[in-house]
């Protein structure tokens, strides 16, 4: 682990941190050690599941580490709760702001510590305190504006002031630029620089490497729960960092013959879909999906993938652009119409969306087809055919411990996903949208899912694979699209695409930029 040698003690030192989540069998932190110098802007980068947020959550007292120690300013610290962290001078700005919309900026910043006389709030003093605070840090705000009326960038500033008011000397920012406009991003970067100049230490969790290049002193790359390395930002290129982020070549091998793509079956054009807080989550994304191919959409989660999928299947309103299925416009069609047109959906969350765990296997298996024969005739169920469908799925997909007519809530993740697959694929769908289809599954189940998807492709189905796991994308896709900030940045041929390229795009870079960087070396 490279790093600057310090004359002063480090602001933060995490030694041999280990964290294992038994319920999902994930080793989120695998003997992670981290050292952050005082006054440093330290970026922690990694894909989804790399473990960066878990690590910072432990630093902030949201979850306890299984093993390892944390030292703040050289002293061993026991951080069992965010209040301990706050007392030690650690503040965290989360991705989802915790502000009260109808309150003013001052009221939000001073929530819980309002200056008062016998319970009556001294608003003037409050505004004064906030104005002074803001000016001290060069982050001017109008304390009397209501939070619901200000921009997202300003809201973030309020969150930062909130932790500064509580004497934060170590600031953790979790994906701070996820919701900002380009202008606001540059403002934030200069704010971070200013804060570092006051001697404060900034920890930046991000996957956007260009910003890291712009602002950070050092960067720690995390992958699969491990600290892959810490480097001076000036000494490492974006391209190399991206490569480290995504790791070595594909560890996953899936047997497949080259694709024979047919006509375009699903087309999305210039989509505009609203996300939380009135900001677009999908901002002009578009693609063409052909029969007999797998188009993988890669990207760090939170860049609009969820909203894109929801809009494609009909569970979220599309505010702009068009979606076409077999030439028919389905932009505003119902879920049922789309399904009747041959669209199948393997959802991100099998437990809440894909299945109804409160009921039995039969009722789950029939939710997309119950209105058709032979499962029902003139409104009355034909249970025999439903039972045989269920049994068929159990047999074909090898669902263990499931029995026709019985509850499914005790089944393992892998078996549950097999039920979902069985149901979705039963009708020989023409278009399959698979969203994180192997999340939380064991190796055997992952293999099975991959094999099944390839089989479907070979039968002529068009598959849109949305996944944050790069191995999966590379293993399965015939073409790879990268989604970043609501747009599809590029679509590459899987045969020739490299992890570097894809990693770079996922981190917000552009291929031309990478070329120019390369030229500079």
């Amino acid at each position: 682990m490279k790093g600057k040698s310090q004359a002063m003690t480090s602001a933060v030192e995490m030694r041999h941190i280990r964290k294992f989540f038994p319920s999902s069998q994930v080793l989120a932190s695998d003997d992670v050690s981290l050292e952050v110098a005082q006054g440093e802007i330290h970026a922690i980068v990694g894909e989804n599941g790399a473990g960066k947020t878990t690590l910072m959550s432990m630093l902030y007292g949201l979850i306890p580490p299984d093993e390892g120690e944390i030292y703040i300013n050289g002293a061993l610290a026991h951080i069992a709760h965010p209040h301990d962290a706050i007392r030690l001078g650690i503040g965290m700005v989360h991705q989802h702001f915790k502000l009260v919309p109808s309150f003013t900026i001052a009221e939000n910043i001073m929530l819980g510590i309002e200056p008062n006389r016998g319970g009556f709030i001294d608003s003037k003093a409050e505004a004064e305190v906030v104005r002074e605070l803001a000016n001290n840090f060069g982050l001017p705000v109008n304390p009397n504006l209501h939070v619901r009326d200000i921009s997202v960038g300003m809201q973030q500033r309020v969150e930062i002031l909130k932790i500064l008011q509580r004497d934060a000397k170590i600031l953790i920012l979790d994906e701070p630029t996820a919701v900002l406009t380009p202008q606001e991003v540059s403002e934030l970067l200069s704010v971070i620089r200013k804060l570092a100049q006051t001697g404060r230490t900034i920890l930046l969790i991000t996957h956007k490497l260009l910003e890291v290049k712009e602002i950070a002193d050092r960067v720690t790359v995390m992958r699969r729960g491990q600290n892959v390395g810490t480097y001076k930002v000036s000494g490492v290129s974006v391209r190399d960092t991206a490569t480290m982020m995504v790791g070595r070549a594909v560890t996953l091998q899936v047997e497949k013959t080259p694709a024979k793509p047919g006509e375009v079956v699903l087309k999305a054009d210039n989509l505009l879909v609203a996300g939380a807080g009135g900001i677009p989550a999908v901002f002009g994304a578009g693609f063409e999906l052909r029969a007999g191919e797998i188009l993988g959409i890669a990207g760090v989660s939170g860049n609009g993938q969820t909203e894109l999928v929801e809009a494609l299947v009909g569970m979220r309103t599309t505010d702009g652009g068009t979606i076409t299925l077999h030439g028919t416009d389905i932009t505003h069609a119902t879920v049922r119409t789309r399904r009747n047109g041959g669209l199948a959906h393997i959802p991100e969350d099998r437990m809440i969306m894909g299945l109804n765990l409160k009921t039995n296997l039969d009722e789950n298996v029939v939710v997309t087809s119950y209105q058709h024969e032979p499962y029902s005739e003139r409104g009355i169920f034909n249970f025999r055919s439903i039972r045989s469908l269920a049994q068929n799925i159990i047999d074909t997909f090898g669902v263990r411990s499931a029995r026709v007519g019985e509850e499914i809530k005790t089944l393992s993740g892998g078996n549950l996903q097999k039920i979902v697959l069985g149901r979705e694929l039963k009708g020989d769908p023409k278009v399959i949208i698979a969203n994180q289809p192997t999340r939380g599954l064991d190796v055997g189940s992952i293999e099975f899912v991959h094999k099944t998807l390839v089989q479907e492709r070979d039968k002529g189905a068009a598959i849109l694979l949305v996944s944050v796991e790069l191995d999966e994308i590379f293993a399965l896709s015939d073409r790879i699209a990268v989604m970043f900030e609501g747009k599809i940045l590029a679509v590459l041929d899987a045969a020739t695409a490299t992890e570097e390229q894809v990693g770079l795009l996922m981190a917000g870079g552009s291929l031309e930029h990478a070329e120019s960087e390369k030229a500079q070396e």
């Binding site: 915790k98 919309p101 712009e214």
Partner: protein
């Protein structure tokens, strides 16, 4: 429809304002004084009841047991006065305390034992409705009503200077203590919610629980306090019904006013001052129905007139819902137009993909 509202929104609002003012003038000067006075009197349970609903809703808990809290207030006021023969204000105090106690119990059952809110509220209301009549019988030997000369109703208060002002004086003076307390309570609750730390915390808990938790506010404690306060206000409202208007307790005398109070709170978007005026309006509709009943020459059936406040309530509910829905649709419409334009600009300006972020020192690139 949305574009219509958009374009003429301002004119529509001005029109509504004018209609509202005309209506107000008609009410103030066109209707007989005693009708106005009873409107103000009858509004009192709604004033206090809606404040009770507001303070609970603001803390994030819909208090559906206001009906029961009012009823227990009505009962306790009469019971205490009957047993002790003391000043009626003691009855009001006792009712307030009883309501508050019920509020606390409700809060603990909901927040700590986590009983489903609606079922809990129904059970509480059911219990109070039956328990009051039960004790009426067993403790006081009364069947269905408790009335007695020893139960004194609240005396009316003449305001010294104000009652001499010609028109306004008779409008503002001569009511009993609870009526005046209710007016004061509007200001008090407003003050608590918007000027005190406690109120600030209540609103934070109700609007964004996460935000409150993140700064260390004990959400459960705040909610328990809010519900207790809510119960106190509702209890006081109940005391007005039993010893403010009449001086007796009648089974089920709250007659749905608790539910109407919730509607008032919804209609006023949980703000005390608009709730006060809305309550006045409901008081008017109640007074009107009594008034019209007392005018046999108009031959209006009393039952339908009694339904008048309820019908007004339904209309109020629908109006609120329409307004909220229109707001949602408008926001969606605005979003779509704004960002479609931005998307177009983006398309014209550059290829897909962002240019890398530039720090302010360097000149901005063509974005």
């Amino acid at each position: 429809m949305i574009s219509f509202l958009n374009r003429y929104g301002r004119q529509l609002r001005i029109l509504l304002l004018i209609v509202g003012i005309l209506l107000l003038l008609f009410i103030l000067f066109g209707l007989p004084m005693n009708l106005l006075q009873s409107s103000i009197r009858l509004a009192t349970p709604y004033v206090l009841g809606s404040l009770a609903a507001i303070i609970a809703s603001r803390a994030g808990v819909l208090n559906l047991a206001i009906e029961g809290m009012m009823l227990i207030g009505s009962f306790i006021a009469v019971a205490v006065l009957y047993k002790t023969g003391l000043d009626p204000l003691i009855g009001v105090l006792a009712a307030t305390i009883a309501g508050g106690l019920l509020g606390t119990i409700f809060a603990v059952l909901y927040l700590r034992i986590k009983i489903n809110l609606i079922i809990l509220a129904l059970a509480v209301n059911l219990f109070i409705a039956n328990a009051t009549v039960f004790f009426l019988r067993t403790s006081f030997g009364a069947f269905g009503t408790l009335a007695d000369p020893s139960i004194r109703s609240l005396p009316t208060i003449q305001l010294p200077l104000i009652s001499q002002i010609p028109y306004v004086g008779s409008l503002l003076g001569g009511y009993n203590a609870v009526v005046y307390i209710s007016w004061i309570m509007v200001i008090v609750i407003w003050g608590v919610l918007f000027r005190t730390q406690f109120g600030r915390h209540i609103r934070a808990v109700g609007e964004n629980r996460e935000a409150a938790v993140s700064v260390g506010i004990n959400v459960t404690r705040v909610q328990i306090f809010a519900l207790t306060l809510s119960g106190m206000l509702a209890g006081m409202a109940g005391s007005f019904l039993s010893i403010g208007v009449l001086s007796q307790f009648v089974a089920d005398m709250t007659a749905g006013r608790g539910w109407t109070s919730i509607t008032v709170s919804l209609f006023a978007f949980e703000q005390p001052i608009p709730a006060f005026f809305t309550s006045l309006f409901f008081g008017l509709s109640e007074a009107l129905s009594f008034y019209l009943q007392s005018r046999p020459e108009l031959q209006l059936p009393p039952d339908l007139l009694l339904a008048l406040p309820q019908i007004v309530t339904v209309l109020a509910l629908v109006l609120v819902a329409i307004r909220i829905r229109a707001g949602v649709l408008l926001r969606r419409h605005n979003f779509a137009t704004q960002f479609t334009q931005e998307l177009q600009k983006l398309r014209q300006g550059q290829l897909i993909g962002d240019a890398p972020p530039k720090a302010p020192e360097q000149p901005a690139s063509a974005d």
